[in-house]
């Protein structure tokens, strides 16, 4: 984990299941800095848990960047992985697209829990998920 320039951004490397827990903790700390309400905090951390687990289990690992905007009470995360990407993005976002380690609601569920959500295959490989919520 590294702190970056402004002091408001945190990067967590995603290599194994311990990093999933670490990413959740760091997002929880960011939510606390923004004085998020309990429900908004739980919704956002749950969404983060879904996308970082996807990166670790299916994306060959990667990293998540956490940014907070104190003035607007916004939290933003950008999660990238090094996997093969997702051939059918629409299918992957549907409930029931199961990885056998979830209930098939992971990515679609994450999208429902945040204000803004974007997912795309990266030209260099892997996927990038960007999520943001006002807390």
């Amino acid at each position: 984990m590294t702190e970056r320039g402004s002091g408001a951004s945190v990067v967590v490397a995603l290599r194994d299941e311990h990093d999933i827990a670490l990413a959740r903790r760091e997002v929880a700390k960011a939510c606390d800095r923004l004085k998020a309400g309990a429900l908004r905090k739980v919704r956002f951390i749950t969404a983060v848990s879904e996308i970082v687990r996807n990166a670790v289990d299916h994306g060959g690992g990667g990293q998540i960047e956490i940014d907070v905007d104190q003035a607007n009470k916004m939290i933003t995360v950008r999660c990238t992985d090094t996997g093969p990407g997702i051939p059918d993005m629409d299918l992957a976002m549907k409930d029931g697209y199961s990885s056998a380690r979830s209930m098939g609601k992971g990515l679609g569920g994450a999208k429902r829990l945040v204000d803004r959500f974007r997912i795309e295959n990266r030209p260099e490989g892997g996927i990038e998920i960007w999520m943001s919520s006002r807390l």
Binding site: E17, I20, R24, A28, R43, T46, R53, R101, S102, G109
Partner: protein
Amino acid sequence: MADTISIYLVEQVLLVTIPDNITDTEIVDLLENLSERIVGEAARGVVIDIASLEIVDTFVGRVLAQLSSVAGMLGARTYVVGMRPAVAMTLVELDMDLPGCRMALSLTQALRELRRDGLA
């Protein structure tokens, strides 16, 4: 807050406490360990306390549902207790109803129901 999963037997009921930030491996191991304890202790009930869990995502939810199903196959009724209100609301948004899990607000309520039905 406990750092590891604890399992205690009280009145033929296994009381399980899940700590926050449990790893995926630990909760999957719980599935196996709890199954063995149910048989070994001839438990009639299982109460899983998740009050320490700040979130329940789809993976943990799926394992909780599996724990309840396996315990049921082994003749033990399972209750999940201590769910935080924000976690419950988030699970509803995720459209996860934890099939097979009986929910109770507290350990006391779960034990009361188990005693009422002669399982504790």
